[in-house]
Subunit: 136 residues, 2 copies
């Protein structure tokens, strides 16, 4: 497997209206889009620095993983996402090495990427997402 | 101010020997160095993906910010660092906008960057480091 770079950093917020203005100020030179991801019950504000994105995530339902995370740990960084060349190969190699995956098969994430999450128990406390670009 | 990209993600660990092997496996194609930063009482393992670095940080003293963070929050992501074109200009603009900085003047960080930290109170719970490359 080959890591191509940091794809994004996911930040959990309970209030985009309150927290997004800081990031809009700091990342004012970055491309910026908003997207709702219904399967994950979140609305997002995504800023593209050109070398990794900052994704603000607000839950739209108490069932959202973001709502549960904030309840347990408070708001802040939720996960990091690394772009990978071949997600199926990565899954195979990680399982072979005894790494605990949350998903055993890739699913579709934000912006159409094929994604998989690695459990924080295997990473030293970090929720790690791997993502393969849809056009790969 | 102009953000040039995600410079690194800082991850707090209480045991590099235990936690580094996962990252070495995942980031096996990335350049990798170790560095001790005496002023911050940490030893680091730094992996460069080419689009942002992953920095594992272990405290060498109970006085280290990393030791204090782990005591309060547990191990995991400690901060994110964004590369900026002009750190003094960024400090001026952020103070002008009422953003709370931990440092009022830049100091020297890992790899000789000029750095400043923004307080999580101003960012929605994220410790944000800004860094200007030494050769800029």
């Amino acid at each position: 497997m080959k890591i191509l770079g940091i794809e994004h950093i996911g930040i959990a917020t309970d209030n985009l209206d309150k927290d997004a203005p800081f990031w809009k100020l700091l990342l004012n030179n970055c491309e910026h889009i908003s997207e709702e991801v219904k399967e994950q019950n979140v609305i997002t504000e995504i800023f593209d620095t050109g070398r990794g994105k900052i994704e603000l995530l607000e839950a739209t339902s108490p069932e959202s993983p973001i709502a549960k995370f904030i309840e347990k740990r408070g708001k802040g960084i939720h996960h990091i996402c690394l772009e990978i060349d071949d997600i199926q190969q990565a899954i195979n190699e990680l399982i072979e090495a005894g790494v605990e995956l949350i998903d055993k098969t890739p699913r579709i994430g934000i912006e159409g990427y094929m994604i998989v999450f690695i459990h924080p128990r295997s990473t030293g406390g970090v929720l790690v997402e791997l993502a393969e670009k849809p056009e790969n």
